[in-house]
C-alpha cells in the first residue's frame, strides 16, 4: 500500500515549519513519528498534498525540568519517556503510560506531540495528560500559547489547534508532595488500542490526605475524558477503603463508552470501576509504604 503522491518538506526550524503550514494551510499535514499518520495515508483516509516532516527540528526533541514542572518536547518519543529513569520518581505516570502504548517498535518512532495532535479517543498520552492536568504548548504565526488539556481535545481527531498551529511541547506541573500513579489498560491482544483504560495520578500532603487527584479515562468517549466526580471525592481526604470505594463507583459516571466489537458499554463501565479500585489501592499502599519509611 502506498500513500497518495505528496510534496515532501523537511524544515530545519520551527519558524520554517510554521511558515510552510501557513502557506499550505489545509493542504498540508505535519509528520512527527508517523505511526498514526502514515497508516492513515496508506489507507487513503488522509491524503495531504504536502507533508511537512518535523523530524529535523532539534528544538522539539527531549524533555527538561522547569521551575513549574516538566516540559516535554513534542517530538519526544514514547520509548524515551518509557526509559527516562530520571523521571520515575516525580513523574511516575509517564513511564507507566508509555509502556502500554502500541508495541516497542512503534514506541521507537511515535511521539507524544504527534499522539496528542492526532486526538484519538484511545490515546494513552491524552488520557495520562488529563490525569496530570497538563497544558499543551502550541506555536503558530501569531506566536506561542498554552492550552489546558481539558480545552485541547474537541472531538474525535479534532483539537483546538488553529490553522497554521502545531504542538511544540506539553507541560506537566510538578507534584506538590509525595506522588504515585498507575496506568491500567485492557487490550484484546498485545499492542492493540484499549478496550478501556484509566490513568490515575495522586499527590498527598504531609498528613496523608489527597492534595491533587487526576483521573483520565481512555477509549470511553469521543475524546479522552476526566473523571471529575471521582477526583472531587478524593481531594482533601485520606485514601481509605471507603474513599477509594466511593471514588471508584464515581469514575464510570463520567465515562461515555460505546457498545462495539471491543465490548459492551456496561462492561467497559465496570472495567473502569475495577481499574480505579485497583489503581487507588496500589497507590495507597505505595504512598503509605513511603510515609512509613520517611
Amino acid at each position: 500500500m502506498f500513500p497518495n503522491a505528496f510534496r515532501y518538506e523537511a524544515p530545519a526550524s520551527l519558524d520554517e515549519a510554521i511558515r510552510l503550514m501557513t502557506e499550505h494551510a489545509y493542504d498540508a499535514k505535519v509528520l512527527a513519528g508517523g505511526q498514526s499518520l502514515l497508516p492513515m495515508m496508506k489507507l487513503r483516509i488522509a491524503a495531504p498534498a504536502v507533508l511537512i516532516d518535523l523530524g529535523g527540528i532539534g528544538e522539539l526533541k527531549g524533555w527538561r525540568e522547569t521551575e513549574e514542572g516538566l516540559r516535554i518536547g513534542a517530538l519526544t518519543r514514547h520509548a524515551d519517556l518509557e526509559r527516562a529513569a530520571a523521571l520515575y520518581g516525580r513523574y511516575p505516570l509517564l513511564s507507566r503510560t508509555a509502556r502500554w502504548i502500541a508495541d516497542p517498535l512503534v514506541r521507537n518512532r511515535g511521539t507524544i506531540g504527534g499522539s496528542l495532535a492526532h486526538a484519538d479517543p484511545g490515546s494513552d498520552w491524552g488520557t495520562a495528560m488529563i490525569a496530570l492536568h497538563a497544558e499543551v504548548e502550541a506555536a503558530g504565526p501569531e506566536g506561542s500559547r498554552r492550552i489546558p488539556i481539558d480545552d485541547f481535545f474537541v472531538d474525535t481527531f479534532v483539537t483546538s489547534l488553529q490553522e497554521g498551529e502545531l504542538v511544540t511541547a506539553v507541560h506537566v506541573p510538578a507534584p506538590s508532595g509525595p506522588v504515585a500513579a498507575r496506568y491500567m489498560k485492557l487490550e484484546r491482544k498485545a499492542g492493540d488500542f484499549a478496550i478501556a483504560g484509566l490513568a490515575v495520578h495522586i499527590v498527598t500532603d504531609g498528613d496523608g490526605r489527597v492534595a491533587e487527584a487526576g483521573i483520565g479515562i481512555c477509549a470511553c468517549g469521543p475524546v479522552p475524558l476526566r473523571a471529575a466526580k471521582a477526583e472531587a471525592a478524593l481531594v482533601g481526604r485520606p485514601l481509605t477503603s471507603d474513599t477509594i470505594a466511593e471514588a471508584s463507583r464515581l469514575v464510570p459516571e463520567d465515562a461515555e463508552p460505546a457498545d462495539d466489537l471491543r465490548g459492551s458499554s456496561d462492561y467497559k463501565r465496570d472495567l473502569l470501576r475495577v481499574f480505579a479500585l485497583r489503581a487507588l489501592r496500589e497507590i495507597a499502599e505505595e504512598l503509605e509504604g513511603r510515609a512509613s519509611i520517611a
Binding site: M1, F2, P3, N4, A5, F6, R7, Y8, A10, L31, G34, Q35, L38, P39, M41, K42, L43, L51, D53, G55, A79, A102, D103, P104, L105, V106, N108, R109, A190, G191
Partner: protein
Amino acid sequence: MKIAVKVNGRLYESDVEPRTLLAYYLRETLNLTGTHIGCDTTSCGACTVLLDGEPVKSCTVLAVQANGREVMTVEGLEQNGQLHPVQSAFWEAHALQCGYCTPGMLMASYALLQDNPAPTEAEIREALSGNVCRCTGYVNIVKAVQLAARQLSGEGQEALQEVEAHGASSN
C-alpha cells in the same frame, strides 16, 4: 528526492518518490528482499529493521525519513559467511516454521540483545510483542533468544548441548 542511506554498512544514493516506504525501498530499489512485508499496517512486524540501531517497522517509515541515517536489515546479520548467533539459535531451537516473520523476529531479537544481553523470558516476550508469528506459538522463539543470549555471552557450547539433549520444543 535524492537520499543517501547507509544500509548494512554500505552507502546507497538514490532518487526516490517521497511516498516510497522504507520497506519497499529496501526490497525493490536495493533488492534487499530479506525484509518482508506482511500486514502493511504496522501490526505484524515482519518488516522490522534497525534505524540508527533501533528496531522499527519499515512499512511505516518513509524512505526519505531514513535520509542520512543508518539502516540494518536481516542481510546485515551474517558476517563472512557465518550466521549471526541469533540466526543460528533460531535454526537450532526450531524457532520458525514457514519463516515469513523470521527476518523481523531476528532483527527485534538482535536489537533486544544489543540493549540487554541477558533478558528474562518476560523481557523477551515484551520486546517481541510487536512481531506476530502464526506458526510457532512463540515458545521456541523465546527459547532461541535465550539460546542466542547464552551463546553471545560465551556459554555457547553448553547451551547448544542442552538443546540437542532435550530438544527445543516445550512438549
